[in-house]
Structure formats: C-alpha cells, structure tokens
Amino acid sequence: MGAGGTELNFLTTEDLTRNDLEEILDLADEFTRVLSRPIPKVPALQGKLVANLFFESSTRTRLSFERAARALSADVMSFSASGSSLSKGESLKDTALTIEAMGADLMVVRHRATGAPWRIAGWTGCQVINAGDGAHQHPTQAMLDALTLRRRFGDLDGLRVAIVGDIRHSRVARSNVFALTTLGARVVLVAPRTLQPVNCEGWPVETTDDFDAVVGSVDATYLLRIQTERGGASVFPSLPEYVSRYGMTRDRFARLPDDTVVLHPGPMNRGVEIDDVVAGHPRALILDQVTNGVAVRMAILFRLLGGK
C-alpha cells in the first residue's frame, strides 16, 4: 500500500509503513464517528460492488465486512464455500473469474491456503482484500487490534504486547507482529516450543515459552484461540496443561499490572485460553475489537475504492 488513494489491494501488513498504518487508523476514527450517528451510513461507495469470497467458514469477519461495505453504501455479495460450486469441483480461479464477470469491483477473500488472495489478484482485474489466508496473514484483524490499542493507550510507541498461544499456525499473530511493531510496540510471542514458529530470527519480536515470566510487565496480552477441534493432542500434552501454563486464568489475570488489557480475536474458548470471568472483565476489550473492526474495514474499503 503506497500513498493514499493509489492502492490496489490490501493483502499483508508486512510491507506497510507507519504512515500507511496511521492513515488507516485516522480514517477509521472518522468512520467510528459516522457509525455513531443516528443514520450510520455514508454514500461514499454507492454503485460499487463488494464480493465476499469466504472459502473457509467465518461469521464475524464476513459479517463485519458486510456491515462495513453497507455503511459505505456499497452493494455486497457474499459467498461461502459450503453450498457453492466448489463442491461441484470448480477451481478457485474459475470461481473468481465468475464473480468478476458479475461485476465485482473488489473481492474480500478468505481461504485456507496461503497466498490464495494473491492468486486471485493475479487472475482477475478486481481489487482484493485479504480476510485471512492459511496461517499467513489476516491484515484487517491486525488493523482493528491496533485501533483498539491506540484508542486505549493513545499511542503504541513502547507499548509492550504479549501474543500468547498457537503462534505457529496463526495468521492473526503474523499480521500483528508486523503491524504492531511498525507502530512502535514491543511484541513478545509466548507459546510452548511446539506452537512457536521455527526460524523466526528475523522477526522484530522476542519469544518465550514462559508466560509467567512476562505477565507482570505487559501492557496488553493478546490471547489466540486454541483450536480445540484439533485436540491439541500432537502439539501439547493436554488442554489442562496448556491452560495451566498459557491460559489467562483468574489467577494470572490478577498478576497483570492494573491497567493491562486483554484482547482476543474471537471466537473464544471460554475456560481454555481465557477464563470466563476475565472475558467479561472491563479490561477485556474483546467487544471493542469487534466494533472497531467495522470502522477499520470501512477505512480500508474506502481507501481502495473511494475517489474512483
């Protein structure tokens, strides 16, 4: 993403400058004001067609994009993999070309395979927003997390953020590592070795497998969802053991500094990575993240489609 108004796609946080990120957050602040009006809608993207292509199940991200696009008066088509022609064997390329032929201006793409949004951007003339590809990137999630932290702390400079959980398989973690550190935060990745990425020496982060060693010195803890459907069986010995070392239990929450906040990208496993009581605590900003997600996605849609 380059200077304002010239972007084609929004695919990764890796190559965004601090200026890019701050412009998006500033714009999101403006859209937050729009969303608090009696009629939370502007005609900015009237006549534009946004297609949500979700090849992997998602509720919050898809609905958030729909809400954001409609608040900008764009038309929205949504597609989810189940019940689609994919089950009839159609290729991703043909699906994308079909949606393009219907007149889509922009595609919001989620796919289980790394790079799928890049492939679609290459095959079609549509602009593309990455709504999550494999374990690679989920850049709009990182933007809404950055917005949530900026709202709370005013500034991310020097902010110490612990991202805890299955870093290795997390696109949320990868996007946040680059977005948050570019904005000046110091990020520590907390996970057992089996869930840490291998060979991440070049990342601008610290890593540890000892949550308790850092819990007293962080401004924000970002808890990742543990995929209980995978059983966890091959990556840690048992869920109770995971909870005891890496869960945000009530006991661990009590040892956080007084103004430390808790974030989670959702959906939460209450009682696993986050205790039920902690999830409902005022310092858990999980619903703020959801609200901010709409404003951030409005900002990104507007930057890509507005003024054309």
């Binding site: 890796e14 290729s91 991703l92 390329k93 796919h111 289980r112 395979a113 790394t114 790079g115 799928a116 890049w118 492939r119 095959w123 494999g134 374990a135 690679h136 990137q137 290795r168 398989h169 997390s170 696109r171 990868r174 990425p197 291998v198 060979n199 991440c200 020496e201 070049g202 990342w203």
Partner: protein
C-alpha cells in the same frame, strides 16, 4: 554408404577434448580423426555438419524423469517427453514408475520401453517400483521387472518407510545387480509440509519440510545398504546434511550414488515468497547454503550425477494456491544449460555428471561413452557459449522455473544411434531425420 560427418568440433574422446572430426555410420561412430584421414573414403554421399566451435560429447542420460505415460497423458506422454528429452541433449531417460498404473510388473515396464522405441527419439528406460502399487506394503514383481530390463528400482514420490521391507528389497536385488533408489522424505517429519522449513515458511505460515526429513531417511538407508551390501542411490539430494552422510558412508565402503537436480542447484526457498506454485516440488528448494554445498558436492564427486526430476503438470493444475498445487517442475529441456551456467564446469566434468556416470549407474552400456570408434552414436553437440532464454517448450507442460531465465550454453544437435533427433535451428520440424536442417 551414407553417414554423417561432424567436422571441426571439440570432441570429448577417452584421451580428453580433441578438435577433430567424427564419422557416424550405421548408428555407430566409425571414425574419429582429422578430415584428411577420412578423405580416402568419399565424402560425396555423406552429410557434413560443420560443428566447429561446438563441443561433441556423449548424449546425456537422465536418471529421473516423469514421462506420465500411461495414465496422465494430459501432463506428458512418451512422445512429447521424448521430444523434450532430445531437445535437452538426452539420448536415454529413466522413466519413473509412478504412472497409473504404477510400473510394478514386467509387462508394464515393457510397455514403457516399447513406447519409447516406437517414438524413437531417446532410449526410454523404465524404472520399476520397489513395492506393489508404491503402497509400501509388499515387494513388487522384482524378477519380472528385472527381466524386462529394469535396473533402477524406486517408489519415487514416496519413501519406502518400512525398514524391514527395504532390507528385503535390497537383499533381493543385491545379487542381481539392481539399484535401490530412494525418494528420501520421512513421512512424519514431512507431514503437512509444502516447502522447506525455514525462515520463509515461517513468514508465510506454510507447513515446512525440514532437511532432517531427508537426512534421517538417508542415514537409515545407508545403514541398511551397509547391512545388505546393496547398491543404493539417493534421488534428488536437496541439502548439505545428506552430502555428509554420503561421504562418510562411502568411506565405510557403502555402495552409494547420488543425484541432484538443476533446480536444487539454482533456486532457494526465497523463490516461494512469490507463492507461485511453479516453485513447489519435493524435496523442496532449500537455502543458499545448501545450494553452495550441492554445487561443491557435484563438482567434487560426492554427488555423482545430475538428474532432472522432470515433473510436468498441466497449467490448470498449477493455477491454484501453492498448498493445493501438485509438486514438480519440468527440466529436460533446460538441464544442460542450467548446469553449464550455475556450475560453470569444464566440459569433461559436465559430461561425466550428465552422461558417463548416470549411464554407469543405470547400467546403460550404449550410453555415456567417450567418443571413439565403435561406440553407438548416442551423441550431443552443444554450444558451450550460446546465450539464450527458454520461453517455449516441447514438453506438453511449461511448469519450468527456468522460463525467462537467461542461460549460457545450448544443445545444438542430438543423435540417437546415429539419427538426428534434435536440431535447435529447426524446432518447428517434428522428429527431424538425418539430412534435415542445419546441414550443408
């Protein structure tokens, strides 16, 4: 009478490179020497090809190509694969047995070699499966395959994981003179992997295949080869660690050979940052340090041979996200030029690694012979210095990492048993015959 006279080339004879002429008659080289010595016989009805400035050597031998026939002819068949091979200067190609059905019995091997003969551009030598259906459960029809001419046995694409089964295959073939070739990739360490496990895979969040997936299998296999005395061949070595294992096993007297592909000598896992599935193959592209080690290994002889692992896939099959793409790249048409460019060897070294030694490993007596009277005229003429950029291919598939990459050195003519099978100036002419273009 007839015959073809190659004049003025740098000819790779048993005594080294000599600037001289080569006479081909009746499918054999009948004379090697300066033209005056040949004037006693009339030149009138001979085809004379001026190859001055070019290098004349034994035709290349590929130990590892997927020609896809029978069963996957939309990717490649023995006709298109043979044309691609001839264009790459190959006179013999060992066809991998992971066809549909897999080559696990003699009649299937005969089908492949018969089809090769029918096409007539290269000797297509079938490799046979080690296990039935490549399922890793019971031995294939090893005797039957051997009788059909198979000398190299492999379940390429998968590893024979059962050490006991591997031992029995090695024991069985050791006395017959067969070679067990292994695609070394530990199923557990490689599980869920799509690329080299390293910094790039971590950045992309893609499942990785650590180099140890290769080295643990090679280490085990070398121990079993030592136990059985069998000839063992490591296919497509991808990492430095494997070279150390091979060297130390050789010092102990283990009968081990190894091959490397041109793409592993050239490209690193950085290539995957594009997320273009053309960079997807197993074993995956490794690190720049591995590339250096592989180049050294090939130069020093730790690695015996270059093999292409030519693995064609149709465009639509690769036009998907990386993780969903089939594995493999093509290589027959670019192998010589790629090795010439990246290794910058002297001609003799290159021909040892691409012709003489692979012919020995595959027990192909008619190939890989330094040029002298009496040998079958399986020859290639290369321009050592021509610069070119591959753009189109004779293979049915174009999933080449070298498309658009400037290369140095180019195959000019290929001869199989004295017949011209490729002329780079006449690519539009299918199956050229003696007397066709490039001649005067």
């Amino acid at each position: 009478m007839g015959g073809i006279l190659l004049t003025g080339g740098g000819v790779l004879t048993p005594a080294g490179e000599v600037r001289t002429d080569v006479l081909i008659e009746g499918g054999r080289v009948t004379a090697v020497g300066p033209r005056p010595e040949m004037t006693e016989r009339t030149l009138a009805d001979r085809t004379v090809i001026d190859v001055s400035g070019l290098v004349v050597g034994p035709g290349f031998v590929d130990l590892h190509a997927h020609l896809r026939e029978p069963g996957q002819e939309w990717k490649e068949d023995i006709t298109s694969g043979s044309r691609a091979a001839a264009a790459g200067g190959f006179t013999a190609v060992v066809a991998m047995p992971n066809t549909d059905p897999p080559t696990d019995a003699g009649h299937l091997a005969r089908y492949v070699s018969d089809r090769g003969r029918q096409v007539g551009l290269v000797d297509v030598i079938p490799a046979g499966c080690i296990t039935m259906g490549m399922e890793g459960l019971r031995l294939s029809h090893l005797d039957d395959l051997f009788a059909a001419g198979v000398r190299l046995f492999t379940d390429d694409g998968v590893t024979v994981a059962d050490s006991g089964l591997l031992r029995r295959a090695m024991e069985y073939l050791q006395s017959r003179g067969g070679v067990i070739a292994q695609h070394a990739e530990d199923p557990g360490l490689g599980r869920g992997g799509h690329m080299h496990e390293g910094r790039v895979s971590s950045l992309l969040g893609m499942g990785g295949i650590p180099t140890q997936a290769e080295t643990v299998i090679v280490a085990r296999d070398l121990a079993v080869a030592e136990l059985t005395g069998a000839a063992y061949h490591v296919q497509h070595v991808s990492c430095a660690g494997t070279l150390d294992l091979i060297e130390s096993a050789r010092r102990r007297g283990v009968n081990v050979t190894a091959e490397v592909t041109p793409h592993h000598l050239w490209f690193s896992d950085q290539q995957v940052l594009s997320m273009d599935p053309v960079a997807k193959m197993y074993p995956p592209l490794r690190t720049p340090a591995d590339i250096e080690a592989l180049l050294d290994g090939l130069r020093d002889g730790v690695i015996d041979a270059v093999a292409t692992d030519h693995a064609p896939h149709a465009a639509h099959e690769k036009d998907v996200p990386f993780e969903e793409a089939p594995k493999g790249v093509t290589g027959l048409e670019t192998a010589f030029s790629a090795v010439r460019t990246v290794l910058d060897p002297n001609p003799r070294l290159l021909f040892e690694r691409m012709s003489v030694t692979p012919a020995t490993i595959a027990s192909l007596e008619g190939h890989g012979n330094w040029i002298e009277p009496g040998i079958p005229a399986n020859l290639v003429v290369v321009d050592w210095h021509e610069q070119w950029t591959p753009e189109t291919f004779l293979s049915k598939s174009a999933n080449s990492l070298f498309a658009g990459v400037p290369l140095v050195g180019r195959v000019r003519f290929t001869f199989r048993e004295g017949r011209l099978t490729h002329d780079s100036a006449r690519l539009d002419v299918p199956a050229p015959s003696p007397g066709a273009g490039g001649l005067r």
